[in-house]
């Protein structure tokens, strides 16, 4: 992994610009993404960190265009390896999904069809994207299971999803995701449902595979500890916007946005004992009726009239860092 932020130097692998997403529901439109911008370099791990409703999973799913187009309004741009993803035809899009861009989820049970063995599903995926023989695809599946450290891979490939333990299923899903040599891996809380001793195994495995394959990764998480273990950069999301972005050390040690500061203050850490936490008051805003200006202002201890006048523009306090707060120091 590299410490270099994705935005500078060489052409980024992925660029998301001014992304807005709204879902149409029975009660009108809900604005779930309100202008998301970021770039991802080749071989970089970016963690989208945020609470429920912050837009982190929607961002991932929009990159793969997984939302129902009839009920979703998308504007902005997603550029992947020079292609305009939002403008691609359905055929090109389905080649991209599971091919150059792979996705892993929190719940591996939903990634596999319960009535086929995991091996058959991996073979099918490989042959859908590459014209190789059944035997060659099977050999590749065995190799992949070895790469994700599944013991006795031949036997495990013949197993049905329910016959694998939770950690094993998550490894099998990672193998499935890697089967077509993606350059970008999208990971949506892949360790959240796992036990602590298994979670750390999967995080270390992902970190190793990322380095071996030189993968770019967008890792979505609500857990600061997990983000700290895996990310080169962290983008903190709130109410459909990135409110702070920077190298992992800076964001964890010297957070600039009051929301990031509040999130870190709310997180119980090792060694803390029975003293009141610096909790953020209130709850995240209703996305169907966002407050004017900075969405965090109603909960912010430093809010002033300027905060509600307009959405704060992103400020770069240092190269590679970004914060949307009027109080942030300018470079």
């Amino acid at each position: 992994m590299t410490d270099a932020p994705g935005a500078n130097g060489a052409e980024p692998l992925l660029a998301v610009e001014g992304l807005h997403v709204a879902f149409h529901g029975p009660d009108g439109a809900v604005e779930v993404l309100n202008g998301v911008d970021f770039a991802l370099a080749r071989g970089e791990v970016l963690c989208l960190l945020g609470e429920s409703g912050s837009g982190k999973s929607v961002t991932l799913r929009t990159i793969l265009r997984l939302h129902n187009p009839k009920r979703t309004r998308v504007s902005g741009a997603v550029r992947f390896a020079g292609q305009d993803v939002l403008g691609l035809g359905e055929r090109a899009m389905s080649q991209l999904r599971g091919g150059d861009i792979a996705l892993i989820f929190q719940e591996p049970a939903t990634a596999f069809d319960p009535v086929y063995s995991v091996g058959r599903q991996i073979v099918e995926t490989i042959r859908r994207h590459k014209s190789v023989s059944e035997a060659a695809a099977w050999a590749r599946a065995v190799e992949l299971f070895q790469r994700v450290q599944i013991p006795s891979p031949e036997r495990r490939l013949r197993a049905y999803p329910h016959e694998l333990s939770g950690g094993m299923r998550q490894r099998a899903m990672i193998a499935l995701a890697l089967s077509c040599n993606p350059s970008l891996l999208l990971a949506d809380e892949p360790t959240t449902a796992l036990d602590a001793t298994v979670q750390i195994q999967i995080l270390l495995l992902l970190r190793r595979l990322q380095q071996e394959y030189g993968l770019s990764v967008i890792f979505v998480s609500h857990d600061i500890g997990v983000a700290t273990e895996i990310a080169d950069r962290i983008a903190v999301m709130y109410a459909g916007r990135i409110v702070e972005m920077g190298p992992v050390r800076e964001v964890i040690r010297a957070p600039l946005h009051p929301y990031t500061q509040g999130l870190l203050g709310s997180t119980v850490r090792k060694g803390m004992r029975a003293r009141r936490l610096n909790a953020i008051p209130g709850a995240p805003p209703n996305l169907a009726a966002l407050p004017p200006g900075c969405s965090f202002a109603p909960r912010c201890p430093h809010a002033e009239p300027r905060c509600t006048a307009a959405v704060p523009e992103p400020i770069a306090p240092a190269p590679g860092q970004l914060v949307r707060c009027i109080r942030a120091p300018l470079a």
Partner: protein
């Protein structure tokens, strides 16, 4: 809050002995048991009045079954539970209705635990009304309790569960649990589903309620940082057994069981310069249907020797423990057990703890 163990002079509020629950797996044409899930397999512990006992362990360790057994939501196969010195459901003991007035539970799923057709006011007032309180008094109690858990009564009394956020619903669940003035609250992953900023608010509320109302908590969680934050003592479970129990300082600073150590080492470091490099354990927790013989942890333990397969270690005082009331079920923690890393019989308190010494073979 005191870190003193329950074995002090006072009568423990809750004393559990030999608690056991095996669930059958039915199979075959006649739906007969073909195997048993050893969910809770003979556990002993006590909770002193006013203390918080944290319970940690991974899926299948039996922590949630233990909570349900204490509440008698499922009947135990064996064992005794005494509340305030009185046996539960025994002649001259404490009846279930009285027990559930004294002991209440808050669950992880804040939505599933509420009746969607009842307003917040009726949800909180239903238990006291059921125990004979006048309707007007019960409604006034609901009003006061709602204010107590930090929800503005005028805004929330008439609302339905679907009109509340997760954090607000969990506050309502806590208010309802408090409606019968219980002495003991079992919190089963009660903050686990909440966002961090809301979790912090609810943890603050739990600290305040405990101080103000003199409550006793059993706090079940998979989050070791939160357990350390709130607990006086901690009990670590693995495959239906207690593997270690002791004051929170002992468990976190001087873990005597290799499983406790592995759990602590599995926590993300929260420091980008001190990332974890090797997973502390490999594989998943084994299935509680056919647990390993001897020590149940031996199949994942780096210190396992012949004695670990041959004999199951008893939950016993840790040899050379620096903290009173520190017990572990590990052959390495017991002098003369036959394990090569066990202290010699009669060795003093200065023998090195093989688990915290970091001596991985």
């Amino acid at each position: 809050m005191s870190g003193a163990p329950a074995s002090g002079a006072a009568v423990p509020l809750l004393a559990v002995e030999g608690l056991k629950k095996h669930f059958p797996i039915l199979g075959g044409l006649l739906r007969r048991p073909v195997a048993w899930v050893q969910a809770v397999d003979g556990i002993d512990f006590a909770v002193a009045p006013g203390e918080t006992l944290g319970v940690v362990g991974e899926s299948g360790c039996g922590k949630s079954t233990t909570a349900r057994l204490l509440m008698h939501l499922v009947a135990p196969d064996a064992g005794t539970v005494r509340f305030g010195g009185r046996a539960i459901n025994a002649p001259g003991g404490i009846g279930l209705s009285e027990l559930r007035r004294q002991m209440q539970m808050v669950f992880q799923d804040s939505y599933a635990s509420l009746n969607p057709r009842l307003t917040v006011a009726d949800t909180i007032a239903s238990a006291p009304a059921g125990h004979g309180m006048k309707r007007a008094d019960a409604q006034r109690l609901a009003h006061d309790l709602l204010a107590r858990v930090g929800l503005e009564p005028a805004l929330f009394l008439r609302r339905y569960p679907h009109e509340l956020s997760g954090g607000q619903r969990q506050r309502v669940n806590i208010a309802r649990a408090l409606a019968l003035s219980p002495r003991l609250l079992i919190l089963d992953e009660a903050v686990s589903a909440l966002d961090k900023s809301v979790e912090a608010q609810v943890l603050n509320l739990l600290l305040d309620l405990k101080d103000d109302l003199g409550l006793t908590y059993i706090f079940i969680s998979h989050d070791l940082n939160v357990v350390q934050f709130i607990s006086d003592r901690v009990m670590v479970m693995y495959l239906g057994r207690v593997v270690e129990i002791g004051p929170v300082e002992a468990i976190y600073a001087e873990p005597a069981h290799p499983y406790t150590r592995a759990l602590l080492d599995s926590m993300p470091a929260m420091d980008p310069d001190r990332r974890t490099t090797e997973p502390p354990l490999s594989g998943d927790p084994p299935n509680p249907i056919n647990p390993p013989s001897g020590c149940r942890f031996r199949t994942r333990c780096t210190f396992a020797e012949a004695v670990c397969t041959a004999r199951e270690p008893a939950l016993d005082t840790v040899a050379g423990a620096k903290f009173a009331g520190h017990h572990a079920a590990c052959h390495m923690a017991r002098a003369g057990s036959g394990h090569s890393k066990a202290p010699a019989p009669g060795a003093g308190g200065d023998s090195a703890n093989p688990v915290t010494a970091g001596a991985r073979p």
